[in-house]
Symmetry: C2
Subunit: 295 residues, 2 copies
């Protein structure tokens, strides 16, 4: 959350604030926290303090601390910081991979093979497969294109795969189709669903993925994030709105929603602007009001 | 849409604007338009021009023009205006019914019986069952409470029922359970689902209702509406975001999405503020951008 949520923010978020947020998210019971990114500080200045943040966060038992790792150099930095899990990205779309990572997807896959070998017993490796439902440059992405990428990941022995709707174009029918087929084809893999709420379909896509048996979802506190190709639109699926929905449906998320909402309430002051989260504004579904006078 | 969308707006929307919006929505292929409300002009001043609006809109073949009708007096006005369908409201929650309609639910049901008799062959009667998933005063509403209201409607011969999540508290599990059971219990009835996006679950609830076979959904252009008990939160499910999702999923909605988005784009200027609709900001899912230079 911290990484995807903050990388779009124009102002540098103080290291103390990041550490405190990571600790508070751990306390709230979030099971996996993407703390930062070991990319070039020039590429994402606001995450240039990744090493320091990892040094200073408290590690809670049961919580997986992950970081984005773009290449072998980032992998070395992450391993030195004792990151539990490396998150490596490859786009299904060649154009998006070139724009985002300055490499062709084949080169990213080679990096992933090397990182996976290097990490070995020191850290888990999760691969985020980007633009899996559509690309802002190439348009619609087919399931076969996505599966051909996952086939190669399986060949490297990767068992943790996040399927990402990077720019919020996926619809629930497409989501159901892809996750249903992927879960059957690679029963040994653990899939995470990563949605953006850019066109209002974030939680609808969560429902579609849930229906196929997916139980891991990415979210971003307050719905921070956004996408440079969808100006004015919402960002990642909002973590607390997601947890709220799942809990109201009767799922045991392991998260303390009150604590989580408390952190979300502090977010606008941290980033200096309003955030898209809705439960923090409306209150939970079981909130009640005093009866109007005279009734 | 016009009624639920505009009734929360503090400023009077000119009659010409309302007529033009109704005509444009008809042209875009919306199958049912709630044009206004025949309530007391004192209660909702911005809809005081209901009679004039109905007189001046163009009636498109295949489009049902409806209006909210709170009582027998409103029914007479609506019939005089040749309204195709009267929408009458009753809350499952006694407190909400008292607050909203200044009557107990039993009195509302009596009104509905009278209105239904009076309308007879002159207009269809749809009943909107409010607070069907929860009440801002009484909290959780059970399925049995809702069914006991629908039982009485069935006894009056009502065949059109809209089940409303008035304050945006419903979750997809609850929605699936209610619509699945209702569709089995009253196979002769035509159910519409009415959701608010107050806690981000609007389209997720649509997916859950779709899964039970529901095919009629209420929406509000731009997501206007809101709720006095959820300050700062979104209003009704946004019509164009809903149509966009359904079309992307492969459903034939009969709506021209480009025309609909054109109307939505004019909405902020009409109401004088930003609206929650997201597709109007982000563009449709198949929107593509030029490849970045140098790739």
């Amino acid at each position: 959350m911290l990484r995807d949520g903050f990388q779009m923010e124009p102002d540098f978020i103080p290291t103390d604030t990041k550490v405190s947020l990571a600790n508070r998210l751990s306390e709230a019971g979030i099971s996996k926290i993407e703390v930062s990114s070991f990319t070039s500080p020039k590429a994402i200045p606001t995450l240039a303090d990744a090493d320091t943040v990892f040094e200073r966060i408290r590690r809670y038992p049961g919580v997986t601390y992950t970081a984005l790792v773009p290449n072998l150099r980032g992998c070395e930095r992450a391993l030195a910081c004792r990151v539990d899990e490396l998150n490596v990205v490859v786009s299904v779309s060649e154009t998006h991979n070139l724009a985002n990572l300055r490499m062709r997807p084949e080169e990213s896959l080679e990096q992933i093979a090397l990182i996976s070998k290097r990490a070995a017993d020191n850290a888990a490796v999760n691969v985020s497969v980007s633009t899996a439902f559509g690309c802002p440059f190439e348009g619609r992405i087919t399931r076969d294109q996505v599966f051909s990428v996952i086939d190669q990941l399986a060949a490297f022995g990767i068992e943790l795969v996040t399927v990402c709707d990077t720019t919020g174009v996926a619809n629930p029918a497409q989501v159901y189709d892809l996750f249903d087929a992927a879960s059957r084809r690679w029963p040994e893999m653990s899939f995470t669903a990563h949605f953006h709420n850019t066109r209002g379909m974030g939680l609808a896509n969560v429902i579609a993925a849930l229906d196929t048996g997916i139980r891991y979802f990415d979210g971003s506190l307050g719905g921070l994030g956004g996408c440079p190709y969808a100006p004015g639109a919402s960002g990642n699926v909002c973590t607390e709105d997601l947890v709220h929905m799942l809990q109201m449906m009767g799922y045991d998320t392991g998260v303390d929603l009150d604590l989580l909402l408390g952190i979300a309430h502090d977010l606008p002051a941290i980033v200096g602007h309003d955030v898209p989260g809705q439960v923090m504004k409306a209150g939970t579904s079981d909130r009640t009001y005093p009866k109007p006078a005279g009734l």
